[in-house]
């Protein structure tokens, strides 16, 4: 995965989030987190350094765009990218159901981490029912849209990015 490809994906993520994400939020209530889906996609890639930095960048961008506390989303997205990379051997990358579960699970985890970090810095705040409903709605949207976006990104990657030449078994 090249740096250019990652950059293009990040730019497209911002555009997608600002258009489709906002529309879905307008109609369905909870907000689609395209940044998280793309962070999961980065985590699935074999190049771990680029993935980690891309995940971190996505988080920072989300923090800046949302106008919240800087670093909270960066933290959650970095953890997500790292975790997805760590459990890579436990799921099939092109299986819809695997990605569906992965997106749902990491959506909840992402919210959990951000909420935890938020309470760490602002302990007097409380969780409302709307927040919980929004979290579940957002997780469902991520779970349904995630597999589609990730498979699309994989297709783009295989088409546009030249992969490193495979090393044959005895020389590996």
């Amino acid at each position: 995965m090249t740096f250019t490809f990652s950059l293009i994906v990040i730019i497209l993520t911002i555009i997608f989030q600002n258009t489709v994400g906002d529309f879905l939020a307008f109609f369905l209530g909870g907000k689609l987190d395209t940044f998280l889906i793309v962070a999961i996609f980065f985590g699935m890639n074999e190049e771990k350094y680029t993935s980690l930095i891309s995940g971190f960048t996505l988080g920072i961008l989300k923090d800046i765009l949302s106008g919240g506390i800087l670093g909270i989303n960066a933290l959650s997205k970095t953890i997500t990218t790292f975790s997805v990379g760590r459990i890579q051997s436990n799921y099939a990358r092109k299986d819809f159901l695997s990605i569906f579960i992965l997106c749902f699970f990491f959506s909840i985890l992402d919210k959990f981490i951000t909420t935890l970090a938020f309470f760490f810095v602002m302990p007097l705040e409380s969780i409302t029912l709307d927040f919980l409903l929004g979290t579940i709605s957002g997780a469902i949207q991520n779970a349904f849209l995630g597999p589609l976006l990730i498979s699309l990104l994989f297709k783009c990657q295989t088409k546009f990015v030249q992969r490193k030449k495979e090393v044959n078994y005895p020389l590996r």
Binding site: I11, I14, I15, N18, T19, D22, F23, K48, Y49, L52, I53, F56, G59, I60, L61, D63, I64, L65, I69, L70, G71, I72, A74, L75, T78, I79, F82, G85, A117, V121
Partner: protein
């Protein structure tokens, strides 16, 4: 040792990024102003991207608002159409009421006399066949309507009561060939017998060939025969032809029998 760390390079990067995150969080809470230049720089780069993404967003919102407006207009249109239909119905009934009021005003012009008593009724049925030309009215014997009472309207003689039931009565129209009326020309007092040939055309028989009659002369009842009282308007002379012993006079009734709606039933209290 170094090789171990090189092997765990991604873990070190991960820990480093976590540290950066925590630092950013701390800085963000304690002194946000310090991070403002960083934010501004990033915004400087992503600003154009946000601008580009705002275009389809505004298009989409515009389309959605237009769609909602169309929906509202559609609902409003349906509502207005419904209101319009209701108003049209009201307008129709108003016209009906207006014409009814006009007719009733006309009926009120019927000269009130001590010799007659009037009962106003509505026509509820018509029957036209070879044998009978009658209409049914909504007043009967319980309303003191009895046989041979006269039916008139503001234009003139309509007929007489053929028979009355408790709640309705049947009026034999003068258009029935078997209901002739003894008439006289109001202007010259020449007499004859008026009977109908068709629904709107009648004749006056047995008028002397010397009688002075002109088209447009008014025909009124003479009161002979005891059924129709004297002086009620019956029709107008339309055409005169010379015959061998009597004049052949064509006349039309003063009443339009196709537009009968209200009738005044006249009871003669004092015969003249």
């Amino acid at each position: 040792m170094l090789n171990y760390f090189i092997g765990k390079k991604h873990l070190i990067i991960f820990i480093f990024l976590l540290c950066v995150c925590f630092t950013l969080i701390t800085l963000s809470i304690r002194s946000r102003t310090m991070l403002e230049p960083v934010e501004k720089t990033i915004f400087y780069f992503i600003g154009p991207i946000l601008k580009v993404s705002a275009v389809p967003k505004s298009w989409g919102m515009k389309i959605w608002r237009n769609y909602l407006d169309i929906q509202d207009h559609r609902k409003e249109n349906i509502k207005l159409k419904k209101e319009l239909a209701e108003l049209k119905e009201i307008e129709k009934s108003l016209w009906e009421l207006k014409s009814e009021i006009a007719r009733l005003h006309e009926n009120l012009k019927i000269k009130k006399s001590k010799d007659y008593k009037y009962y106003f009724s509505r026509v509820i049925g018509k029957e036209k066949n070879v044998l009978l030309k009658t209409v049914t009215i909504d007043k009967g014997s319980t309303d003191k309507i009895s046989k041979n009472m006269l039916a008139i309207n503001s234009h003139g003689l309509v007929g007489r009561i053929l028979h009355s039931n408790p709640f309705t009565s049947r009026v034999l129209l003068i258009t029935d060939p078997r209901s002739p009326v003894h008439v006289r020309v109001q202007r010259t007092r020449s007499q004859g017998i008026f009977s109908m040939v068709t629904m709107d055309k009648g004749t006056v028989k047995f008028v002397s060939k010397d009688a002075d009659i002109l088209p447009g002369d008014l025909l009124v009842s003479t009161g002979h025969g005891g059924v129709f009282p004297k002086g009620i308007r019956v029709g107008y002379v339309t055409n005169i032809k010379k015959g061998s012993s009597f004049k052949k006079i064509e006349a039309r009734p003063s009443v339009n029998f196709n537009k009968l709606e209200e009738l005044a039933i006249m009871e003669v209290t004092k015969r003249n």
